[in-house]
């Protein structure tokens, strides 16, 4: 019967973790010892079975929900302490041009709206968390997301339990 130390060396040989000297010694053992050969074959067969044998598992919730929680946490962390990956504004260079153009557009819009005084103002319900959702309790927070596929708007309420 081979020792446990040799059993582990057989395994290490299979995994390519031995030096060339040690590998040679194990090969010699395999040539003369049937018990060692059987064990080596069992280990090799198991390794072969496991190779590419991992079950494919899919995320059990929608991508939108999953991403919304990640995004929220990133934003929370960024507010707490700007990360070393603090994003540089992608579009900084064109803001200089957009700002005056935007001001002109806003002025034009104001004029048009003022002229349309016979029409009642339409309530603005843009999806803006700042006024659309309120979570007053300290021990809770919430975030909102929308699933177009399910035609559903969700507000998820997190209670912070220790």
């Amino acid at each position: 019967m081979i020792s446990h130390e040799i059993e582990l060396k057989l395994q290490a040989c299979l995994d390519g973790e031995l030096s060339s000297d040690e590998t040679r010694a194990i090969e010699e053992l395999l040539a003369r010892d049937a018990g060692a050969r059987s064990l080596f074959e069992e280990l090799r067969a198991t390794r072969t079975l496991l190779a590419g044998g991992e079950l494919e598992v899919k995320l059990p919730e929608t991508g939108e929900f999953y991403w919304s929680k990640i995004r929220r946490q990133i934003e929370l962390e960024d507010r707490r302490s700007p990360s070393i990956n603090a994003p540089e504004p992608v579009s900084a260079w064109w803001v200089r041009f957009v700002t005056p153009a935007g001001a002109l557009a806003a002025l034009a819009l104001f004029v048009v709206v003022a002229l349309k005084h016979s029409e009642p103002p339409e309530p603005i319900l843009a999806l803006d968390d700042s006024h659309e959702i309120e979570t007053p309790l300290e021990e809770t927070s919430s975030f909102s997301f929308r699933s177009e596929a399910a035609a559903m708007t969700v507000v998820w309420v997190d209670s912070h339990r220790e």
């Binding site: 067969a45 198991t46 390794r47 991992e54 899919k58 991403w67 070393i84």
Partner: protein
């Protein structure tokens, strides 16, 4: 002239570069592409859906924070996998799941258990449907202790060397070798449809 990135068809490298500059949409595309794989790795280690979701999300958040450190030395998904593995290992250590596995661990330390198992000669003519085999492997993995399962996953599925596994699991190379040996022998028994009890 700025080039707008076509996110769905952009390569990971391009998305990473854009995300490193703060492009959240590029990062969202990376998450969409690799979320299943990262979740799957967390699930295989934790064997709990809720924990796997939480830890995989934490991994994505951490990756965003460290994105500038990613220099492309490995593929993005490999780098992400390492992050989630480390988080899972931290969590497993925190949970201190040793009590339920102490008997197995004692056996392992005594070097006794796997030596009682007869050599399993796999039937070369038995061909299992690939998916059926994967199901059986997954079921068998669920029957291992977390330490044995972890070392098997890191070696067989993540192709890490003994030294690297030892570093990540904060144990000696000898312990890695013993655990891997035990895990493989137990898997051989489980996959052959035999239970340990039947062998005593």
């Amino acid at each position: 002239m700025s080039r707008k990135l076509d996110y769905p068809s952009a390569e990971d490298q391009a998305l990473v570069k854009a995300a490193q500059k703060g492009d959240m949409q590029a990062y969202e595309e990376l998450v969409a592409r690799h979320r299943d794989k990262i979740y799957a790795r967390a699930f295989s280690m934790m064997r709990n859906e809720e924990e796997a979701i939480d830890l995989s999300q934490e991994a994505w958040v951490k990756a965003w924070q460290r994105l500038k450190q990613f220099q492309g030395e490995a593929s993005f998904v490999t780098w992400m996998t390492r992050i989630v593995i480390n988080l899972c290992l931290d969590q497993l250590r925190k949970q201190k799941r040793l009590r339920a596995e102490s008997i197995e661990q004692m056996d392992e330390e005594l070097g006794g258990v796997e030596r009682q198992m007869p050599i399993i000669t796999p039937n070369p003519t038995e061909r299992l449907e690939r998916n059926e085999l994967r199901q059986r492997i997954d079921k068998a993995l669920g029957q291992l202790s977390y330490e044995h399962r972890t070392v098997l996953i890191l070696h067989e599925f993540e192709d890490l060397e003994y030294k690297e596994i030892a570093r990540r699991m904060a144990c000696s190379i000898g312990t890695v070798m013993s655990r891997l040996f035990y895990a493989r022998r137990k898997m051989a028994v489980l996959l052959a449809g035999l239970k340990r009890e039947e062998l005593r």
